[in-house]
Symmetry: C2
Subunit: 124 residues, 2 copies
Amino acid sequence: MAGMGHPARAIILFGHGSRDPAWRRPMEDVARRIAATSRDVAVRCAYLELDPPDFASCVRELVAGGVTEISVVPMFIGMGRHVREDLPQLVGAARDEHGVRITQRDSVGEDGRVLDLIARICLE
Amino acid sequence: MAGMGHPARAIILFGHGSRDPAWRRPMEDVARRIAATSRDVAVRCAYLELDPPDFASCVRELVAGGVTEISVVPMFIGMGRHVREDLPQLVGAARDEHGVRITQRDSVGEDGRVLDLIARICLE
């Protein structure tokens, strides 16, 4: 049941994962910024491989905490196999397992504002 | 020799590469935005694997065109082995080969403005 401290909505930042522990830092930083901005939504990072938690465990933990609606943001600049094939499969399996609403959003690199900002930073 | 249409400075956007041809689109989009903003700098995309051109070929082409100073921006959100080990090695080898100034900048995911924008997009 959703109540104070248990939002019904969640955002999962989905990344590749890496053997390098510093690799996660930017994703965790985004998660902290979201958590600092909104208390109405739970935010988690989940990884395709090499880093815990994996996507299925992350969804399981959120659903156990009362979450019924999950938005998944792929933290990839380019959309390749991981975003077009692996992630939709994980999302479909989690939907089937828990019966909650899970929406896969576009990769961050599909947003023109991100590309525009990166272009401006490159020129600094 | 640098002249009109042959800038002495260049930016290389460095990415992983993918079998999926659509994967390159955001990087190429950033390159187009840079090219549309500044004519004083040449801009190229180069890839670690799977997509051409590789880093060494890209530097060779730029140097042949009169470029003497190259800034490399890793188009990665997280900095793992590819950015901490593979790219510095490629940069070092290209410096040794051509004697031009090549600077490796931080990954785009190290910039707080990028992380802030991504956090805001996640909450939309």
